[in-house]
Symmetry: C2
Subunit: 191 residues, 2 copies
DNA sequence: AGTGTTGATGACATGACGTGTCATCACGTA
DNA sequence: TACGTGATGACACGTCATGTCATCAACACT
């Protein structure tokens, strides 16, 4: 199946990341990307839903992984530890790609529409956590709150992990953020 | 200043809400909106940054109000009460417009790009809360956490307020959600 | 070998979105 | 009366995104 060079999708993604880095996201056009990848414009939209999606499409399986990780935790485990354990299980894929993800985040933070897309990613993670908690029998509203806490926590740790100068692992930073949230929230809710 | 009918911006917003309700957001074109409002397409983009913005543009002053409300709270007030007080002060404008906001939320929930825009609104609220907390001297990371809690809490209460069948006031629901977050988080963080 | 199917891509047309630019002209002011 | 101001009209343009049909290597089956 294919008289063309293989790996069209990866070539597009690589070309896009290069061009976004060189000239910025908004100033880069889809024809420029596909020209560098040796393909036509139409083919770009066969692989990615829109121009932004090329920066996010390698994470399609994340929600499923989240739901699974949460659902299988022992029922006796406290909610906060379920969150922590789930996130730690999730991030093993992230650790080796730190430089790449750092470059990607720089691009995302430089453009409003990409920041919106990033927020949607966190929202999808939250929805997946709700599903995971419910599968293990957690009450609906509790699942909602726990999922928001979990996704917010991940966002904090992730941003910190990719901040310039940060050297600790994502796993360590998740633990640290868990502690921070625990202590700060205890203080916040103190009457 | 103006040889034309006044209130162009409002006419556009009204026409847009009608057409979105009748035919859906994606299926409605900007020329259709401006035709109903008796204006040209170009004028639409003079008043709104993009097609989605017409559903959000009446909330530009919200972030400033948030920052102000938080900054002026007495330093002795516990963080959680600062959040609650700030939100209660914020929502007096919302209460009388419940039907309109309910119609608007239905449109937003029907379209991915609008949901993203809605998430950005909550994110902007969170940033405004960070600014407010910092102005009153709160430590940076504490302000970050408190702001996330505050914006998430508002999102919960707001969605619930506009749910079909809900009759309680937004103010009541904020109090209820404050209690929910407090108890659930206490349970979540229990070791 | 020959034949048919499959699936990725090319090629082309089309419509909506969003912006830049200049002209127009009622209104306020001097 | 003259002038400046500011909102709008009119037009051109580039990009994004999608629909549709043609092409043709790889594969399966006979």
């Amino acid at each position: 199946m294919g008289r063309w060079e293989p790996g069209a999708r990866d070539r597009i993604a690589d070309a896009a990341l290069e061009l976004f880095t060189e000239g910025g996201f908004a100033a880069t056009t889809v024809p420029q990307i596909t020209a560098r990848a040796g393909l036509t414009t139409r083919t770009f939209f066969r692989h990615f839903a829109d121009k932004r999606d090329v920066l996010f499409a390698d994470e399609d399986e994340i929600p499923l992984a989240i739901t699974g990780l949460l659902a299988v935790a022992p029922l006796s485990t406290p909610t906060i530890e379920v969150i922590g354990g789930g996130l730690r299980g999730l991030v093993s894929d992230y650790e080796p790609r730190r430089d790449q993800l750092r470059a990607r985040l720089l691009i995302i933070q430089s453009d409003d529409s990409l920041r919106e897309r990033y927020l949607r990613k966190l929202s999808v993670m939250s929805a997946a956590m709700v599903a995971g908690f419910r599968q293990r029998g957690t009450d609906g509203r509790v699942a909602d709150v726990a999922a928001k806490i979990g996704s917010t926590l991940f966002g904090f740790a992730y941003d910190r992990w990719l901040a310039t100068g940060e050297t600790r692992s994502l796993s360590e930073l998740i633990d640290e953020t868990l502690d921070l949230f625990g202590s700060e929230f205890a203080a916040s809710t103190a009457t």
